[in-house]
């Protein structure tokens, strides 16, 4: 049982990381949303699997939230935003795809170096989970800073959050996971609301309110 639990969890975690790379790889907005939905699904599965393995019912709730929000609601909402605001379908990158991938690999290498000193097998899965979650978090952040479209940045942020959930559900008996994921969802909701409300088409920092020039730090 332990072997299977380990293998499945590892597989799901690995898939999440793969999806993070896939997110970085995509050039088209709709594809990014799709990949993100898949990553949400994987996370939901991972949570559900852990709920099953640890016999922790509250993790089912987490899985349900992840599935509901990340696989259904948010992708739909994002697609609507894209349509409504007429956002370009291609992604404007600050750093080319290939360099981004290279940077991603470097980050993964960094995470490996970081987790190496952790005593192996001291607890179930700890080292592997940390390595992958760390990589997902860093890749999410990388996506936020190398992609210019607001929608991709929001997705980067949520992918970062996926890393958190991966870490949180992967360990035995982490309390308050549900509470925290709810609190986090509020944050995300605000974010999406903000993007929608301020009609942010391209970037976070151009609120498209035509006053940018005279407000951004009126000082020099």
């Amino acid at each position: 049982m332990a072997g299977l639990a380990y293998d499945v969890a590892h597989l799901l975690a690995g898939t999440t990381l793969l999806m993070s790379f896939a997110l970085l790889y995509q050039r088209r907005l709709s594809a990014v949303v799709k990949v993100f939905a898949i990553q949400g699904l994987v996370i939901a599965l991972a949570a559900a699997w852990q709920a099953h393995v640890q016999a922790a019912t509250h993790l089912y709730l987490t899985a349900a939230i992840a599935f509901g929000l990340k696989t259904v609601v948010i992708p739909v909402a994002l697609n609507r935003i894209i349509r409504r605001l007429g956002i370009h379908r291609t992604i404007e990158t600050a750093l080319g795809i290939a360099p981004t991938m290279l940077a991603g690999v470097a980050l993964v290498a960094l995470t490996i170096l970081l987790v190496l000193p952790i005593a192996a097998g001291s607890a179930l899965l700890t080292r592997e989970i940390i390595a992958i979650a760390l990589a997902v978090v860093l890749l999410g952040l990388l996506m936020m800073i190398t992609r210019r479209n607001a929608v991709t940045q929001v997705i980067g942020f949520m992918s970062l959050e996926n890393g958190l959930i991966l870490a949180a559900v992967g360990v035995q008996g982490m309390p308050l996971v549900v509470e925290m994921s709810v609190a986090f969802s509020v944050l995300v909701a605000f974010l999406i609301f903000g993007v929608f409300f301020f009609q942010i088409r391209e970037r976070f920092d151009s609120l498209e309110l035509h006053y940018l020039e005279d407000v951004r730090d009126r000082g020099p």
Partner: protein, 477 residues
């Protein structure tokens, strides 16, 4: 029990104030609630040190609870006058004032929750809640710059807070390595006891994320970008509590984690990381003080600088430097909010917060102007004020441990001083701009109250207080 009262009071007040119509009743309710909270905070600070599953009180958080409740109370006094002016001059609609009051109490509730929470997750939730409430308050004026500032604040702190959550989860994971599970494994009191057996390597990674996450909230360079804008665009009382309270609470969170790592023999020394960020904050913010046009941005950079100093102090560690850090936290909170009180009143009188537009303060508003002069001299670290005492301890402690660091600190302090004094002189003493009209503003009493406290702390700290602070400094290791 008192803890519940401490947290329940602002929550209830927030709900009540959201419903209470009218500026007068709202302001009175806000003051009353804050005053009561302050009284309860005194009771908590004087009362016994308790710990249960969710909440606890020890010397460290009792100190900050007292400080937070006090500054919250005085700021509520100030904001009554501030909002009165805004209301008279139709800057804010009644619903906005009502919203402000509710949010003020909600913010106080999150601050106190973050301080009293005996759970790393709960504390995180509280800090996130504080982000949301303050983001809403920053955008209170609904002007475009205000909304932009709130947005920037929200995004940067959102990412920061996400990283902090990751760090929090990692700490729990580290606890796992010591076969330590469940809700206790997130309680400060328990974690602190068992930290020596945790896997140090995980704690290291966790601390980096926590440092970046809560460091964003504390406004450390290079994570500080949200801070000046948020301070500048929000209502001035909010600038005062952001600088005086929120930054301290974020640092408090860092301190707690630092203590955990300190207890673990395998874990990395956290000092150098904090020293690096603190020094960077001090130097960069000090340099950034020079080219400022907006007075509130100016003083928010000064807040960054002081957070840098406090972080440095705790990074150096040891009884003297920790004492300095603790004293500095309180002194900075009091002085900086006093400065915002003065600056807010002046800006209301002139209808502008451009430094150039504010000149002639001493000639036109002697009471507020001199108050500002004294407060800025105090924040700049001149005696006989409390910050000088704290900086004295910090520098001597730094000299003792790493002389080169003392040199860097001194350069940073001087740089910041030069920037502050340049603007202070032009605000306070340069002749008022041609045709400047001044609306009447009453000198804010909390300004003088804070200054009196800061002065008193510089001249004489009562031995019980010194003993208390020494004890906390000892706890911090």
């Amino acid at each position: 029990m008192t803890i519940l009262a401490l947290l329940g009071l602002p929550v209830a007040a927030a709900a009540l104030l959201a419903l209470l119509p009218g500026y007068r009743a709202g302001a009175a309710g806000n003051i009353a609630a804050s005053g009561l909270t302050f009284c309860v905070a005194i009771a908590v600070a004087l009362g016994e040190r308790t710990a249960d599953a969710l909440f606890f009180v020890d010397d460290l958080n009792a100190y900050l609870i007292l400080l937070t409740a006090f500054a919250g109370f005085t700021t509520s006094l100030y904001s009554a006058g501030y909002l009165g002016h805004e209301q008279r001059h139709r800057q804010l609609a009644p619903w906005q004032i009502r919203f402000y009051h509710a949010m003020f109490q909600a913010f106080m509730a999150t601050m106190l929750l973050a301080l009293t929470a005996n759970n790393i997750g709960l504390m995180w939730v509280a800090v996130e809640g504080a982000t949301l409430t303050t983001a809403l308050m920053v955008s209170l004026y609904r002007t475009k710059p205000a909304i932009e500032a709130a947005w920037k604040y929200f995004i940067l702190c959102g990412v920061g807070i996400a990283l902090a959550l990751f760090g929090t989860i990692l700490v729990y994971l580290a606890a796992q390595t010591a076969q330590f599970h469940g809700i206790e494994a997130m309680a400060w009191t328990e974690l602190q006891l068992r930290a020596p057996r945790f896997d140090g390597a995980i704690l290291d990674i966790a601390f980096v994320f926590l440092l970046i996450g809560y460091g964003t909230k504390a406004g450390l360079v290079p994570l500080h970008a949200w801070l000046p804008d948020a301070h500048a665009e929000g209502p001035t009382p909010i600038s005062a509590v952001l600088s005086g309270l929120l930054l301290n609470v974020a640092l408090y969170a860092l301190l707690r984690f630092k203590m955990l790592l300190g207890a673990n023999p395998q874990a990395l020394a956290t000092g150098p990381l904090m020293i690096a960020l603190g020094l960077l904050s001090l130097l960069v913010a000090g340099a950034a003080l020079y080219r400022r046009r907006d007075v509130k941005k100016l003083f928010s950079y000064s807040s960054i600088e002081h957070m840098g100093i406090v972080t440095l102090a705790f990074g150096i560690g040891g009884p003297v430097a920790n004492f300095a850090g603790l004293l500095h936290m309180a002194m900075h909170a009091l002085t900086k909010s006093a400065i915002f009180f003065a600056v807010g009143s002046l800006a209301q009188s002139r209808g502008s917060q451009e430094i150039r537009a504010l000149s002639g303060a001493v000639a036109r508003h002697p009471a507020i102007g001199w108050g500002l002069v004294v407060a800025v001299l105090a924040i700049a670290g001149l005696p006989p004020f409390g910050i000088f005492a704290a900086e004295f301890m910090l520098v001597t402690a730094a000299v003792e441990h790493m002389p080169w660091l003392a040199a860097a600190i001194v350069v940073g302090l001087l740089l910041a001083f030069g920037g502050l004094i340049r603007h202070l002189q032009s605000i306070a003493f340069a002749p008022a701009p041609e045709g400047a009209k001044d609306l009447r503003v009453a000198p804010p009493l909390p300004l003088y109250l804070h200054l009196a406290l800061v002065l008193a702390a510089g001249l004489y700290l009562p031995p019980p207080l010194v003993g208390w602070l020494r004890q906390i400094a000892g706890m911090l290791g």
